[in-house]
């Protein structure tokens, strides 16, 4: 008796064998799907900020503004990974900080700062990996998520980002806050993921 695998591969083989000449693999020129308005090699950081902002991500370039914004939002408990000592110190004087992300505090911790692995200028996307994130939930569950993005890690295009994807079990491209338009086509921000997505570019 054939296994499911054997049955399927045989069916596929039988389906394809009458094809005299299989469709050739088309050549995909590098950059063929790049947006036409991309400036040549220019300022990726400026483009990133523009695109990220357009998609709903708040971009900060200094701690002071970030802190002011969080203050204005009356956040309750901020998680920062312990290894970011200067950040922990800076925020501890201003608000409640924890360096321990615990699953049962998922609803208490309403703000998280976690590192981004990279950025994509063409789409204003923040790239998060398992390697760069202590806990997947820390980048996903809080209402406010702030990604720490090193400006040197910003790729110019979506194609570039795909070409340099690391070996990581879980790479997530984040382009703005979570949203849905399921109810009458009306756009609502903040469904299961963060309702407010921000980025601190360092």
């Amino acid at each position: 008796m054939n296994t499911s695998r054997e049955t399927i591969f045989k069916s596929i083989h039988d389906a394809l064998s009458p094809i005299k000449e299989r469709a050739a693999r088309p050549s995909v020129p590098r950059g063929v799907a790049d947006a036409k308005w991309l400036p040549d090699e220019a300022d990726s950081i400026a483009l990133f900020k523009k695109q990220a902002t357009a998609s709903g991500t708040l971009c900060f370039t200094d701690l002071e503004s970030l802190a002011k914004w969080l203050e204005s939002e009356n956040t309750r408990l901020l998680y920062i990974p312990a290894e970011f000592k200067p950040l922990v110190e800076y925020f501890s004087s201003r608000t409640n900080v924890t360096t321990d992300y615990k699953r049962d505090l998922v609803d208490e911790i309403d703000v998280c700062i976690t590192p981004a692995a990279a950025g994509i200028a063409e789409s204003g996307t923040i790239v998060i990996t398992d390697e760069s994130t202590p806990d997947r939930l820390a980048a996903l569950a809080p209402w406010y998520h702030i990604a720490l993005l090193d400006r040197a890690d910003i790729h110019r295009t979506i194609g570039d980002a795909i070409a340099s994807m690391p070996e990581d079990p879980n790479i997530v491209w984040v382009t703005g806050p979570s949203k849905t338009a399921d109810v009458e086509g009306i756009l609502i921000q903040g469904v299961h993921g963060p309702g407010a997505q921000a980025c601190l570019i360092i």
């Binding site: 596929i12 299989r22 469709a23 036409k36 699953r103 939930l137 399921d182 009458e184 469904v191």
Partner: protein, 462 residues
């Protein structure tokens, strides 16, 4: 005269629902057009490239599927195969039972709808909660999605508020913001209490073994963060060769579906999470499902397997806009459904053989398809198939007589001349069953058969 089912459904559809479906679809078409026009100098050549990529992928499915399996296994995932819908359901419940999993959370997966997974899991005593907002509402209503990307395009906020109240999510409140935040809090409990997360996959990249998932809500991220087991259900046709092809397809998918350059979350899953991690599945399973796909691959409609499930064809289809998704009586509505659903029905083709006829063959679907599927040609092939299988077709005039008439010029010319007799008898009185549907809403021009021919003849004689 018996009605075609899709026409009858459209006729009986509530006007407000039809209007909502029309407006929402038209908006989707506008957004797609705007985004492609803004971003690409020649979106059509990109679509044709993507079409060639997908055609190559499916015509070399034996190679790429095997390669995907090897890559996934290397990455630490368990690969399973399921021939039929039942096999797929059982493969899922076997994995869950082995792990003692009782509660699962699901992110949107069309193939899971095809196989009626939730119904099966219920019979196994396993709770399965849909986490995508639209799909959750469908689930609690015991309804079916009416669009592949926007499942509740046919519901309004009052419908949803009533359902939420009935489900115990709070008193009646039809504010979309409130509805959404209630879903958010409710679903958190489900994610965190779930033993397993089930997803689909938009693409499987053969050389790296990466699954690609494209969403906006964050529900699939949660399904892959909280529970310890991940099961991905993937149609065998989803494999693509490598990252360079992925780049083209990803750049077209969001724009075609919703006018977005990228959806909010694009996830690349390359295996289970590392052992020392607090979140992420320890165990990953990928179930490749056939469910008639290899039959379709063997047929003369194999191009339909290129489909990347964007929904652009639904949005632009004038018949879909008039009839709405449920008129298609199957998981996939609209132009994609009119081809795919009768084919997925396999031996039950005749149950859905009317769907390919529910089209004016306008070709708008092919024009918007990111992988350039020649849908009208496939609809015509399926009409031919239905004819050869002698399947009845209400309202369709038999053509054997026409074949004789139009290949016999002398009879034709006589018919042209004598057709004028119809001006002596009111058309409605003539026993022409196929004429009365026309005459109910339209007049016919006067008969002029033979006039041009005699004009041409007398001209040539001069």
């Amino acid at each position: 005269m018996p009605e075609q089912k899709v026409d009858s459904y459209a006729r009986r559809l509530d006007r407000p629902v039809q209007q909502a479906v029309h407006d929402n679809s038209a908006a989707g078409t506008e957004k797609r057009y705007g985004s492609l026009g803004k971003d690409f100098a020649d979106a059509d050549s990109l679509r044709r490239l993507a079409g060639a990529i997908r055609q190559h992928s499916i015509e070399n499915l034996d190679i790429y599927l095997e390669q995907a399996e090897a890559s996934l296994t290397r990455n630490g995932a368990h690969v399973h195969y399921a021939v039929t819908a039942d096999d797929a359901c059982r493969a899922v419940s076997d994995i869950l039972k082995k792990a003692g999993a009782k509660k699962i959370v699901k992110s949107k997966s069309m193939i899971s709808e095809e196989i009626y997974l939730n119904d099966h899991l219920a019979t196994q005593g396993i709770e399965s909660v849909e986490t995508d907002l639209g799909e959750y509402i469908i689930q609690i209503d015991g309804d079916h999605p009416s669009h592949i990307v926007k499942p509740i395009i046919h519901k309004n906020r009052r419908d949803i508020a009533r359902s939420f109240e009935r489900e115990g999510l709070g008193d009646y409140n039809d504010d979309p913001q409130t509805i959404t935040s209630r879903a958010r809090s409710f679903m958190r409990g489900k994610y965190l209490g779930a033993d397993a997360g089930i997803t689909g996959a938009n693409f499987v990249v053969a050389d790296t073994g990466r699954l690609v998932l494209v969403t906006n809500e964050g529900n699939s991220r949660f399904c892959l963060a909280a529970p310890k087991i991940h099961i991905a259900l993937v149609g065998i046709e989803k494999v693509i060769p490598s990252d360079s092809e992925l780049t083209v397809l990803l750049n077209l998918l969001g724009r075609s579906a919703t006018g977005q350059q990228l959806t909010v979350y694009t996830e690349f899953i390359n295996g289970p999470a590392r052992k020392d991690r607090p979140s992420g599945p320890e165990e990953m399973h990928v179930i490749f499902v056939d469910n008639q796909r290899s039959e379709i691959l063997a047929s003369n409609c194999r191009e339909i397997l290129r489909c990347i499930r964007c929904g652009a064809c639904l949005n632009v289809c004038p018949i879909y806009r008039q009839a709405s998704g449920h008129a298609y009586r199957s998981v996939y509505p609209g132009p994609i459904g009119a081809v795919l659903s009768p084919l997925l029905a396999g031996k039950n083709f005749k149950e859905l053989a009317d769907l390919p006829k529910a089209s004016s063959l306008c070709g708008a679907c092919n024009e918007v398809c990111p992988v350039d599927i020649p849908i009208p040609d496939l609809l015509l092939r399926l009409r031919n198939k239905a004819h050869e299988e002698h399947l009845p077709s209400p309202g369709t005039p038999p053509m054997a007589g026409f074949g004789i008439l139009a290949s016999s010029p002398s009879i034709w010319k006589i018919a042209m001349k004598t057709g004028g007799l119809s001006s002596l008898v009111p058309l409605e009185k003539l026993p022409l069953p196929y004429l009365s549907p026309w005459l109910k809403t339209r007049t016919l021009p006067g008969w002029r058969g033979g006039q041009f021919r005699s004009w041409m003849k007398s001209r040539n004689q001069k």
